[in-house]
Amino acid sequence: MQEIAEGSLLTLIWVGIVGFAVFMYVLMDGFDLGIGILYPFAPTEEDRDTMMNTVAPVWDFNETWLILGGAGLFAAFPIAYAVVLPAMYIPLLVMLIALIFRGVAFEFRFKARAGRHWWNRSFFFGSLLATFAQGVILGSFIQGIPVEGRQFVGGMLHWLSPFALFCGAMLVVGYALLGATWLIWRTIGPLQDWCYRMARGLMLVVLAGVAVVSLWTPFLLPQIAERWFSMPNMIFLSPVPIVTAVLAFALWRAIDNSREVAPFVLSMALFALSYLGLAISLWPHLIPPGVTVWEAASPPETQVFLLVGMAFLIPSILGYTAYSYWVFRGKVTGSFGYH
């Protein structure tokens, strides 16, 4: 018994680490993908320069969380890596190709002159498609993945469903909200005014989307309905929608009052709440509907070997991330670099 309990604690810790990595990715690449989504709608070409400059020093760092999430699954829950990735073959392909085109746009756009409009497009479509694909992956993941003998047994289009496509569209709006509120924080003048307007509209769509997904999910999977709508769960879990509503109201006020930092923080908090809601829906399944985190966990010797390093490395990563963001703090204006 003792041994099993220890293994469970380790697995819990690893659920936390991988969950944290994925959430960090969603937040951090979320806002810079969001900037790419808003990009072609910006008022002027100078504004586009500015938008790109606000994330230029940090984008590849943000994207590294995506690799951490993938590698974390591979190490701590190999079966999840071996099942989820083949199930999402096509949307992952779209995401990877889109991320390639978007990533190189950072480097190429400023070096191009005649060809610049091509890299503008590459940045926009890359960000848009990568985000959409991530949303689709999320949606079809929630709907469940058939597993037999530790391998995915569905078809290549198993991921395709109205719910998954809806999640894709919603994530586009959600990341755009993160991007707009990030830009409110980091820019001034007409660009910032434009971002306030965008953020207000995006927020309404996001809230509507969250509501639709929250009601749609229980219909898809009875076990999720039972998780949320049975007693006494309903009482214990009621803070989740209530806090979400409070945050939404605060965000609305913050935008109305032209606050600079609060909209970004509150948007991130909205994402955190949605993420928490998702975790509550799915727990303890790592591959819904059949495989739990306990079944998917790699053996203790693997988890311990990694944890020894993580205990020291994750805090230091967070430390130098904070330092890097601090170095590049402050407003970014025009195409004249950092001030």
């Binding site: 590849d60 590294t64 690799i67 190490a75 890596y81 073959y89 990877l96 480097e107 002159r113 070997f305």
Partner: protein, 465 residues
Amino acid sequence: MELDPLILSRIQFAFTISFHILFPSFTVGLACWIALLEALWVGTGKGIYRSLSEFWTRIFALSFGLGVVSGIVMSYQFGTNWSRWSDTVGNVLGPLIQYEVVTAFFLEAAFLGIMLFGRDRVPRGIHLMAACLVALGTLLSSFWILSANSWMHTPAGFEIRDGRYFVTDWWQVVFNPSFPYRLAHMVTAMFLTTSFVVAGISAFYLLTRRHFDHAKLGLSMALALITVLAPLQIFLGDEHGLNTLEHQPAKIAAMEGNWEGGPRAPLILFGIPDVEKETNHWEVGIPALSSLILTHDFDGSVPGLKQFPVDERPDPRIIFWTFRLMVGIGFLMLAVAVVHLVLRFRGRLYGSDWFFRVLVGCMPIGFIAILAGWFTTEIGRQPWVVYGHMRTADAVTPSLTTEAALISLLSFVVAYAIIYGAGTYYLIRLLRIGPTHVHDAKQPPEAQRPKRPLSATDQSIEPAE
């Protein structure tokens, strides 16, 4: 050959990793070279070090960006196309990949931002530290990924239960038998690759009579390093080969094109291996030399392909040639080192246009040798993915269809053609523009900051329409 998910996945893996490897091959050495230049700038205050560093940092940024985006593809491809392998070895290799991410990738990405855009925002010492940490990150990355790769060649420290691999000894996993040799051989290769690029670009400036001071400095430093590393690499390559002989004799037999094996085996210089007839056509060899090289004894016995069951033999048709290409380039590098020494002692290093032309021509040889070497070692591991334990055919994703595999392969080919084409174009333009002048530290510092962060140049590098 029929197209099935297995062969398409293998082609896709070979294609994407071949393009990806070009960038680490270059950026690992380049990061160290930039860190050295930054240290010299901080130490001496001479503007030439800083401007040379800024020039190579622009090249580095572009290459690193391409390396990042092609690297993300790699970390997902394991799961999408090789899910059986992922599930089977995840307990063993997952942590090594994970350690690469947390020790190397984050370090590189975070401090690259400071290195590229932070010069005016952080103290000089911090900027130097950022350059050093980026270099350290690239080396740590090589350490982990080569450890994981080596384990698949010489697996150790594990046991198999229910068809999956469980670790019994982490030390043996990480420091598996071929790892130290592979690491030394590859890191040296990467430094040589960078040195030949730096030497070639410097020689190009000297030929076109531009950036004379920068070019002399770059040429001198790069050639000095080549002179040390080229002979060292031949020694390391030989050691690595002996290690392979011990652990993967079938690979050696295929590389050598040796069917019979046994004592007094000839070193085959030329031949067309024929897998059907189990022989070589038009073979030209030097008697007993292969035995001498591999066993250090004319009468030493070496492995032959016929000693292995047909379904456990690597195909010699490609690696017989890639191996010779790699070795040939190794000796070409040695020749460049020797010629450089002769010219330097005669005091004619900066005045020999013909030698500059040779160096310009030698710019890509490091990349070619690295690709040839990897083709040799990876094809030589076949038909195994985990040597002696798991066949490549058993590693592929069972649900993957031929259509999906074909779509993804073609998508990557098209995407990489566009991206790498554009990347090469911009790299060449950056190289043509060359370094910009920076004053020595004692003079008043120039007030101008880079206007656009990613291109530290002040203008687009593409000509106006």
